[in-house]
């Protein structure tokens, strides 16, 4: 008798904290839970008090109506073009720079690296207005290139790639040189394949950031056909006709890509976030 109760006591001691911690977590994400439940209700249910979280007959057509009313696929296509383009180029630029900083000794190397690091202390928000002027002067307003170009470089990604390359043994490079392997071939065939985990983390982290960007895309897009998902949704939100059922449904659709990526790629994203800043 006594042994059993001791055992179950121990079990409660383990299960109770888990349940409490999980309930706090669910409470924390309750806005998302609310959005999911109410996106399945008819507009009348949402306007007639009181609200009920559960509905007898869930109405899935809100989602269909969103796709009919709003050019959601255009927005999604634009977001994907911007994300893929910006992430690819940022990673290439960062790999090249990191390679230069790690494997070469040239004059003013420290000065150039200081330039990369100090860029972090100039917040993007401080330069956003003058960048907007630059984009207009370059004739890139309302173009994909204009949407992407400020994300082509990131101090954090240079930093992260540099930290990875520093762990590569210098012998690799020397051996490759003796075999007559040029720099680009070394970077492409040896350094890059070895850094795939770092690149994956970086790419996922950047995806969440760039897909979710709002300030810059809202400044540099002028027409519907260039709007990203975030800009498109914001127009729905600030529109004249407020139909919460559809707004909630569109919000759910818009957050799906990043939420799914976050749930399954969490470890990579955490890696990507913390490697650049915290020396682990």
């Amino acid at each position: 008798m006594i042994t059993i109760s001791a055992k179950s006591k121990k079990r409660i001691g383990r299960v109770a904290p888990f349940i409490i911690k999980s309930l706090i977590g669910l409470l924390f994400i309750s806005p998302l839970i609310i959005a999911v439940f109410f996106s399945l209700q008819v507009e009348d249910e949402l306007t007639m008090p009181p609200l009920h979280l559960f509905t007898k007959n869930p109405y899935f057509s809100n989602f269909l109506e969103v796709f009919q009313k709003v050019p959601f696929f255009t927005y999604l296509k634009n977001s994907l073009i911007v994300c893929v383009g910006a992430i690819t180029i940022q990673i290439i630029v960062a790999s090249l720079a990191a390679y230069g900083f790690v494997f070469f000794n040239f004059k003013f190397k420290k000065v150039f690296f200081a330039l990369v690091v100090s860029a972090m202390s100039i917040p993007g928000e401080v330069v956003v207005i003058t960048n907007y002027v630059t984009i207009q002067n370059l004739g890139l307003y309302n173009t994909y290139l204009g949407l992407m170009i400020t994300s082509f470089v990131g101090s954090t990604s240079i930093f992260m790639m540099r930290q990875y390359y520093m762990t590569l043994p210098k012998d690799y490079k020397e051996a490759a040189e003796l075999d007559g392997c040029g720099n680009l071939r070394f970077l492409l065939k040896i350094a890059t394949p070895l850094s795939v985990p770092t690149i994956t983390s970086l790419a996922m982290y950047l995806f969440v950031h760039i897909y979710n960007a709002f300030f810059w895309p809202v400044l540099v897009t002028g027409s519907m056909d260039k709007r990203t998902v975030q800009v498109g949704i914001s127009f729905l939100v600030s529109g004249d006709v407020v139909r919460y059922s559809q707004i909630l449904a569109s919000a759910i659709v818009a957050i799906l890509p990043t939420v799914i990526l976050f749930i399954f790629g969490q470890d990579y994203i955490i890696n990507g976030m913390t490697k650049g800043g915290i020396k682990g």
Binding site: S22, P49, I129, T130, V133, F214, Q230, S234, Y244, I263
Partner: protein, 292 residues
């Protein structure tokens, strides 16, 4: 021998080519616009934001003399303080709660971090529904009929609540990673010495993780000043400028009113403000942080 050395020297200069794209882009989109903002703050601009003529300190004097500007600065500081305090405290609590890895701990770890993956537009869509005066979720729960976003007293806190909700996640992740870096043996021996969970947090985890905690604090100060999307989507700076912070003011001046020189002065003011605060923080770090 010397021939090889020479070839090596030349080979080293190839390094410039590798860093060239990154440096060129940084110069073009970080340093050039920053210097340009300084230049334009002493000039008049045309409608497209390009230089038209020098005016000396006139812009600075005009901006700094305006009462509205100081009200905006006050709101910026208030918002930053609220965001920082709550984001950091909640993230600390979540971080300490999730430090110990157990079976399924990943479940609540994911829940605490998840809102960081939600962009502001959809988040605003959801919070507009929650805050709605007519049959909104919050009013239903409280049995009230408050227009949370249109009321002078509640608008600022409502905007902050959503901002905090979105920011806790990344702050939590950083803290979690550094709490988990604290060596297990130390915690184990403290436990055997009879230190309770609070003692272990106060005397071991926090001191050992303090360099990283300061780093997270530095990041949070930075981001707490930069609320823009939330304001743009929830209140548009209203009611009666109650939620207008510096970044929103900059946006309004440049993009809506086309007064780029005014916006540049304000942007530089924001830069100086963040710069001074982070310097102060670095000074504190030297005094309080425990390095191993």
């Amino acid at each position: 021998m010397s021939g090889l050395a020479l070839r090596r020297m030349k080979g080293q200069n190839v390094g410039y080519l590798f860093i060239l794209p990154a440096i060129a882009l940084l110069l073009l989109f970080t340093y050039y616009p920053f210097i340009r903002a300084i230049v334009l703050s002493f000039a008049l601009t045309n409608k497209r934001g390009n230089f038209s003529k020098w005016v000396g300190f006139a812009n600075w004097v005009r901006v700094l003399k305006k009462a509205e500007f100081w009200k905006v600065v006050g709101i910026t500081l208030k918002m930053a303080a609220i965001n920082l305090t709550f984001t950091f405290s909640i993230a600390m609590i979540f971080g300490l709660m999730a430090t110990k890895k157990v079976k399924f701990s990943k479940f609540y770890q994911t829940l605490y971090a998840l809102p960081m993956a939600i962009a502001t537009s959809p988040a605003a869509a959801i919070f507009l529904f929650i805050y709605s005066k007519h049959n909104g979720v919050l009013n239903n729960l409280l049995g009230t009929e408050v227009a949370w976003l249109l009321n002078q007293k509640t608008a600022l806190w409502s905007v902050c609540a959503m901002t905090i909700w979105q920011h806790v996640g990344s702050c939590f992740i950083f803290l979690l990673v550094c709490f988990r870096n604290v060596p297990d043996e130390l915690l184990e021996s403290a436990y055997l010495d009879g230190a309770g969970p609070l003692r272990r947090i106060k005397d071991i985890i926090i001191p050992l993780a303090s360099p990283q905690i300061f780093f997270v604090l530095f990041m949070s100060i930075n981001s707490s000043f930069k609320t823009f999307n939330q304001i743009k989507l929830l209140t548009g700076g209203g009611p009666a400028n109650a939620t207008k912070n510096l970044i929103y003011y900059i946006y309004e001046n440049a993009i809506i009113h086309g007064r780029f020189e005014t916006a540049c002065v304000q942007a530089l003011f924001l830069f100086v403000m963040i710069f001074i605060l982070t310097r102060i923080q670095f000074l504190c770090e030297k005094r309080f942080v425990h390095y191993q």
